[in-house]
Subunit: 203 residues, 3 copies
């Protein structure tokens, strides 16, 4: 199992656990919690594969994604007391996941023959559509539409990737730089409480 | 028209009517009610076909599914006074539908070349995703995430199916036993008010 | 760029701006507003292409759709004071868009080899599913399920199209008449405050 796979699977586990905790707070039962964990961790990639017409969907081809969700439910239960203290590592992993999913989505779109614009969108969808699906199922307004720089970090990073590519930066560098930039933007936006502006409407 | 088709179509009608009644309670108009009926009865199978990349989607190939939804709207209107008394037969049919849809989804995934894990998930999605879509469109927290043993009955039944298959039980028996087990679990869970546990989170 | 393309693109812009304004009212940030604009303007066509298995999805093949959404965000910001006064032209364009999207969806389904029933449904989905997705993401009950004759105008127009076709009316006429009928039904329903009936349920 290479480094990327380890990051990917850890990301799935972290996203699933964070979704399961939100579901538990809303008094969802174990099944409901598992569905929310699934939606949070695998929803973005599922939408990407459906839109790009890539079949089998990634978690149908590699069943370990499903098993990770099933594992996340008892893990959340067993470690529920400790998870509260894990806020910082959780946040860091969420950020790494954000960057990683963006790059995976982007690469999948390029491999399917699409250009930069569609690839950037697919990177962003992979990274954020799971959280949006989770919030819709929890019957809440999607968090990322109102708070903090989140999807914007994906957009900025994914755009930078193509800029670097344009200047013939070797791929291993362009991927690394992009990933670091996404993580940095996200960390800085949290540290300095930065958010995107809101349009003031007059009615 | 064979026995399975009769059960299937009756199930669609029953699911559609139950959705239309919920829509009417929220003061949806006839169009809104028809959409909710459609989502409730055909939403799960639609998601399954999209995920499995089976085209045409089942209700595009067999238009009778669409006509059943269109039939359900006036039926709900005409029999609105009697439907209140039909709680028990409605509940029974909902349960039969649950079992039947699970088996249909499971068989479709197997026919598409997938193994047990994906087949169990597709069985469950066929059975429950329609109700989830209905609740999202009604702007409510999906009922099955919080109450009663519902999807769990599908999961248990679908898993049993593969256990029986593993021991070379003839298919007609494994399908029958599985269907009966799903219905029994559901009926017992209602009779004894059983539910899945909820994870208590500490924040 | 032919007349239909001009109408199509203007329709996308108008739908996107109306979605962005609703998002701004709910204090969504610029990213959230762009997603709502995208969902409103392109969500219906996306669902249609996924259901019909038409790939690449229309906005992946013609990137100008994406650029129009990105253009709609600053336009809404810059002209926010004037947009309030544009209620009537906005409403007219929304109505033209409704008719146009219905016809585009209908034609796409026919071109994919489906018959009238599926074509009528795809026309309707193209025209209304974007607004439904917008309302789900805004965490509100979809407006068109409760108010005014909207989808019904699509249904009536699309059905009329096949009636005219049945009597061998030349296509240029059947499309024109259908479009005018959809617009007229919508305008009359607003003028006379017509709505569909609601089923009264007894519980």
């Amino acid at each position: 199992m290479d480094f990327i796979t380890v990051l990917d699977f850890t990301g799935v586990l972290v996203f699933a656990i964070s979704g399961i905790r939100l579901a538990a707070k809303k008094k969802f039962d174990l099944f409901g919690a598992a569905v929310i964990g699934f939606a949070t961790a695998l929803g973005g990639g599922t939408l990407r594969d459906v839109l790009l017409d890539i079949h089998p969907i990634f978690w149908m081809r590699d069943l370990r994604y499903i098993y990770l969700i099933l594992l996340a439910v008892p893990l959340t239960f067993i470690f529920r007391q400790y998870l509260v203290k894990f806020k910082t590592p959780f946040f860091l992993y969420d950020t790494i996941g954000l960057a990683l999913y963006t790059m995976i989505g982007l690469q999948k779109a390029l491999a399917a023959g699409y250009g930069p614009t569609v690839a950037i969108m697919m990177g962003m969808i992979t990274a954020v559509a799971g959280g949006v699906t989770r919030d819709v199922l929890l019957n809440e307004v999607p968090l990322i539409f109102r708070k903090e720089i989140y999807a914007t970090a994906c957009l900025a990073g994914a755009s930078l990737y193509f800029l670097l590519e344009h200047y013939n930066v070797p791929q291993v560098w362009s991927i690394s730089i992009t990933t670091i930039v996404i993580i940095t933007i996200r960390l800085l936006s949290i540290k300095y409480k930065l958010g995107l502006p809101v349009i003031k409407v007059i009615d």
